[in-house]
Every structure is written in C-alpha cells, then in structure tokens.
C-alpha cells in the first residue's frame, strides 16, 4: 500500500461510502482515463488518430453500467472506453490495446475502436456506426433460451439513431420479448452534425415506443437519475420487456482527437461543458458533507492508477509480425497462406 491507498482505506473505514460517491469515483475514473488517452495521442503513442473520447458522457456509461449485473453482456460504439471501464475493464489492458500493443485486450490488433473482453461480457466495440447493435438481440436470444437471467445492452450514439439496423433490431427484441436494452448516448453530435440536423424527431424514445418497447429519455447531468432510470429499464428487460434509453449529454471535445469542432461556437461549448456530470456529482457529494480533501484523495489515487496504465502501455511491445495470420480462423483450422510464401513457391519453380 502506498500513502494514497492508506489514506483511502482510512476514509473508507471511517464512514459509509455513499452510492453517489461510488458513482462519482467511477465517473472520475472514466474522465481521467480519457484524459490520459489524449496524452497518449499527443505523445504519438496511440495506434492512429481515431480516438473518440467520452469526456462529458460519463454519467451515461456509469449510470447504465451500474444497473447491470455480472453475466450481462453488451456492445459499444466507437466511443466506448467509458462504458468498458464502467463494466470493470482493466485500464492497463485497455490502454495497451489503444496503443496497439501485444499486451492489450486484443493483442494490439483491435485498438480503441475494436476492443472487447468476453470475460466481462464485452462483445465488442465497433467502428461501424450501428454495427454492434443487432448482436445484443442474439445475445438476448441466448440468454432467454438459457434462462440465464442476463440481459444484453447495446450502447450507441445519437448518430446511430438514423441507421436502419437499429429499427430492425428493436423490432425483433420487442417481437420476441427479449432481455435487451438499447442505450443511446445522445451527445448532441454525430461528427459535425447536430442531432437536429440529422432528424426532425429529436424525442428519440418515441421511436422505440412506436415499435413496442419501453422508451425513456433522460437528462445525463445527474448520474443518479440515469442510474435509477436504467435500473427500472434493466429490471424490465430482465423479465423480457426490452427497453430503450436515451441519455442526453454533451460531447465536450472534438469528434476524434484531430477534430477542433469548428462547426460549433465557443459559447455553445462553454455552455455545454457547464453541464459536467462529474463536477455535478462532486458538488452534490460536497453538499452531503464530504470534504474537498477527501475527493481530492480519490481523484489522486485514480490519477495514479491511470498513470500506471500509460506506463504499462508505453512499455509494452507491439504485436510481432509473426502474429499476422493468427486468429483469422479458429485453432487447428487451415490458415491463410502468406503472399510471400506463394511468391516463393511460384518463383522457385526451376
């Protein structure tokens, strides 16, 4: 135990950890993790520039995930670090994967947009907008058939609300009474397109209702509201009443790390960032009588944890070239022939 850990333990022993404090801690972990991902990029250590940070969206990830149970499964969109972390991901393995390293969750082959962990029920992030949505219908089918009591949750952005596959998936989930929840993290933008530039129908949950699902929209400022709503919807889903939840929040930064968001005004951004679910929770905890200092200690310990994740990622090696043909097919199955092997054979004919 280092000093911070000792202090934390002391605080923990001294008083009952409130639920809000726990939610705060989780949101802070997401926030700090994402900040470190940004640093990884600045240091030139991330695999590519396609890094989508979920800063500003922490309440959606944490609020919904805290209403999920062990054994539940989920898929996420490209902006899924926070969700995965909230479901228990190891930040070291995440950061290593984002850096494209062999020690990462996917051996450095997937990266930020294709991260997964079957052990934690993460059936995969997706770089195709809407691409991961129907898989939860299948997972829901399996859970229903196996009577496992598990649910499966699809996380996606407001942009995916205009992808046809969402409607097909929601219709099937309703038709078959599946333990499935669809969660739209409405950060107001799909790249540079504001939600009202993508649709006239901004009351997103109405679409789900029209297809026969439970449908609710909720303001994401207060993580407790999100958590409670999600709890209701997951409870229903668990007994075969599929649902849809839209959590509105604000994408604090650009779409990806290169995007400076020239398509929106500074005033809008300033206003948007005021609706900070992490600070909002922090303020409420303080109102409950917890001191700034205690929260600072929590923050510091998270900061240390994420620093280690960066160190872990940077000190790891990229996957070797020899791993290129591994895992295209299952074990003991015929593998692809490398182009070079074929060329050698052809040219060695004499």
């Amino acid at each position: 135990m280092n000093m911070t850990e000792i202090k934390l333990k002391h605080i923990h022993d001294a008083r009952t950890n409130s639920r809000l404090e726990d939610l705060y801690r989780q949101m802070r972990r997401v926030r700090t993790f994402e900040e470190r991902v940004g640093e990884l990029f600045v240091r030139g250590q991330s695999a590519g520039s396609m890094l989508h940070l979920s800063i500003g969206e922490e309440s959606a990830a944490v609020g919904v995930c805290s209403a999920m149970k062990e054994g539940d499964s989920f898929t996420t969109h490209h902006r899924g670090h926070g969700i995965f972390l909230s479901r228990g991901a190891n930040p070291n393995l995440m950061m290593a994967e984002i850096a494209g390293k062999e020690t990462g969750y996917c051996k450095g082959k997937g990266g930020s947009m294709h991260i997964a962990d079957m052990g934690l029920g993460h059936l995969g992030a997706n770089a195709i907008v809407g691409g991961g949505i129907p898989a939860v219908v299948g997972a829901g089918l399996a859970a229903k058939r196996g009577k496992t009591g598990a649910i499966s949750v699809a996380f996606f952005g407001d942009g995916a609300m205009q992808q046809g596959i969402l409607y097909e998936s929601m219709n099937m989930a309703a038709l078959w009474d599946l333990p499935v929840l669809f969660v739209c993290i409405n950060n107001q933008y799909g790249m540079g397109t504001r939600i009202d530039q993508a649709t006239k129908a901004t009351n997103l949950h109405e679409r789900a209702i029209a297809l026969g699902l439970n449908g609710i929209s909720v303001d994401g400022l207060n993580v407790e509201t999100v958590q409670e709503t999600a709890q209701k919807l997951t409870d229903d889903a668990r007994v075969g009443k599929p649902g849809f939840l839209a959590v509105s929040c604000y994408r604090f930064f650009g779409h990806a790390r290169m995007d400076k968001s020239p398509y929106r005004s500074e005033e809008e951004e300033t206003e948007g960032r005021k609706r900070d679910p992490v600070l909002f929770a922090r303020d409420n905890i303080i109102k409950e009588g917890v001191s700034d200092e205690v929260l600072d200690i929590i923050d510091q310990s998270i900061s240390d944890e994420m620093d280690s994740a960066i160190d872990f990622a940077i000190s790891s090696s990229p996957p070797p070239l020899s791993s290129m043909f591994r895992d295209v097919y299952g074990p003991n199955e015929p593998e692809p022939e490398p182009v070079q092997t074929r060329i050698n054979r052809i040219l060695a004919r004499e």
Binding site: S73, T75, G104, Y105, C106, K107, G108, K109, G110, H114, I115, A116, D117, M118, L123, G124, N126, I128, G131, G132, I133, P134, A135, V136, V137, G138, A139, G140, L141, A142, A143, R145, G146, S152, G164, I165, E168, S169, N171, M172, L175, W176, R326, D327, V328, Y329, G330, P331, E333, P334, P336, R345, I346, R349
Partner: protein
C-alpha cells in the same frame, strides 16, 4: 442406398445435426411455419418447435447480426438468407463483423454461424433473384465458403459446416433442389476442404463447383463419345480451397477449363484461373480458359437467362477446341 433429393439431404443434415447438438437453431425468413422458400426446412418446426426454428421479420442485416450475437453467446445459429442476391444488404454484418471478430479481438472468440442461402439462375426469377455472388465471400478473409454440387455433399458439407469454429457461408443452387441421387449417407465423407475428382481423363482438366458440375459432367460425357476424356474437379468448398488437388491434376494434363456460373470479371473463375496459371505455369500447354457468366445482369426472359450462363454445349465445344 436411398434416393434423396438435394433438398431432402439438406433437411436431413439439419435434422441430424439439431438432434445431436442442442445449441443449433435456425433463424430466418419463413424457415419455420412456411418451411423455407424452397422447402428445405419443411417440417422441422414440428420436431424442434418455434424456439429452434425462428421465423423472423424481413430484416436481413439484423438477422445476420442476431446470428452473430447468438454465436458469440454459445449458440450455433443457422441463418437463412432467402436469396444470395440479398447479400448486399448484409455484407457489412458478414464482412465487417462476423468475418473479423475473431481477429480484431485477438482470438478471444469465434463466430460459429452457418449462413445458408441459395443462388444461381434457372427459374426466370430476374436480375435480382438469379445471381451467383460467391466471389464476395471468397474475397473476405475470415469467411469459409461451401457450395455443394451433389446430394451427398449437400448433406455432408452442411453437417461439417455445423462443426466449424468460424462463419461458414453455405450456398445452395436453386436449380439443384430437385436433383435426385442414390446415396448412402453412412459412408465416410470426403474431409472438409477437399475437392472431389468426379471423373478422370487424360485430355483436359475441368475445374468447377455447384450446379455447373452437372453441366460439366454432361459435357464430359458428350466429349467422351468423341474420345476426349476429361478430368472433372468439383471444388466443394472455395474456402478452404483445395489447390493441391487442382495442381496434381493439371500437372498431369496441361489443359484446363474453369467453369463458373458467376459473372466472369473478377469472379471466382478469375481466382482459379490466376492460381492455375501462376502455379502450374510450366505444365500448361495452353491458356487456361474461363467459361463463366456473362458480364451483364440476368434477364427474366428464359432464353436470355439461359444464354447468360455456361451451358453443357458451350463447355463441350470449348473443351473440344482446347484439346484439338
């Protein structure tokens, strides 16, 4: 020996596999109550119930996506796509998801789904219901591809597909469903991934698969009457591709015809022709010749339809000219 149709053999394979493996279920449009647009799944719902014969709405992309999620959750879905012509709606789920999940996620999990579908011409079904689109699958690493040409293979390849750890696209041919053969299903089948030499001859090698095998065999018989003996290779699976068998036969003979119903340009015949030309270069006495579908859509009018794919006559005549 029993006489079975291709359709019955497929149904039998599904039946036997479902009896053995509880995790198998069938999902698709009209697979249950209706029994499949071409009758392949007829009656299975009576035995296995609606939970294992899941009739879906008309939502092709989500059907494949659902099968993927189920496959990742321990089930073994057999998704049916009514016509391979609809594959263009599902290529994202198939090519970007099913095919890549094992690889992208570092080998954590596979997607053991079988996508059954059917293609090909022969029923005046028009441009959107008569295509042969296997090249899309063959060009997508991560997807296996089986295309049975015989009743026995309809059975065995489907059984084998249902044991594979990876997504298998299984393309039947609409004009083969009523094909009848005497088969003994208890005989040990060829291994998965192995081509079948359907006929041996010393004058020419004809490489083909799916329904064109029937046409090629007709042509080979006609050629035989003219003292031209053809070796006929039925590929059975296009991924894995049994190139060793092709090589062995081609090296013996030096003259090759590749026959495929699909549109010629950038089709499966192109891959086969290219590999044979590259790898058997010193053994070829003549250029490899592709007999394939015309580079145009398929008309509803019967003559134009028949004219746009290889016929036994064209195969025979091309082979003859190549040999002479």
């Amino acid at each position: 020996m029993v006489e079975l149709t291709y359709r019955d053999a497929l149904r039998q394979a599904l039946y036997d596999a479902m009896i053995e493996d509880e995790s198998i279920f069938i999902i698709g449009e009209e697979v249950g109550r209706y029994g499949g647009a071409y009758g392949v799944t007829k009656g299975l719902i009576d035995k296995f119930g609606p939970e294992r014969l899941l009739d879906t709405p008309i939502s092709e992309p989500a059907i494949i996506g659902t099968a993927i999620g189920a496959a990742m959750s321990g089930l073994r879905p057999v998704a049916e796509l009514m016509y391979v012509d609809f594959i263009g709606m599902t290529m994202d789920q198939l090519g970007n998801q099913a095919a890549k999940i094992r690889y992208m996620f570092g080998g954590q999990i596979g997607v053991p789904l079988v996508l059954r579908t059917q293609g090909g011409a022969g029923r005046s079904a028009g441009a959107q219901h008569s295509q042969s689109l296997e090249a899309f699958i063959m060009h997508t690493p991560g997807l296996r591809l089986a295309m049975p040409a015989t009743v026995s293979d309809a059975y065995h390849l489907l059984r084998q597909s249902l044991t594979k750890p990876d997504p298998v696209v299984f393309i039947e041919h609409k004009s083969l469903y009523s094909l009848k053969e005497d088969v003994d299903l208890s005989i040990e089948p060829l291994p998965w991934g192995k081509a079948a030499v359907r006929r041996h001859g010393s004058d020419i090698v004809i490489v083909t698969y799916s329904r064109q095998l029937q046409f090629v065999m007709q042509a080979a018989q006609a050629l035989s009457k003219q003292n031209i003996e053809a070796t006929v290779i039925d590929l059975r699976t296009l991924n894995p591709l049994d190139f060793d068998t092709i090589r062995k036969e081609v090296e013996k003979v030096g003259k090759v015809l590749v026959v495929s119903e699909a549109v010629l340009t950038s089709g499966v015949a192109s891959e086969l022709s290219a590999r044979i030309s590259e790898e058997c270069f010193d053994y070829l006495t003549d250029p490899v010749v592709r007999v394939a579908g015309e580079d145009c859509p398929i008309s509803v009018s019967a003559d134009l339809e028949a004219g746009s794919i290889p016929s036994p006559k064209v195969i025979e005549e091309t082979a003859k000219r190549l040999v002479m």
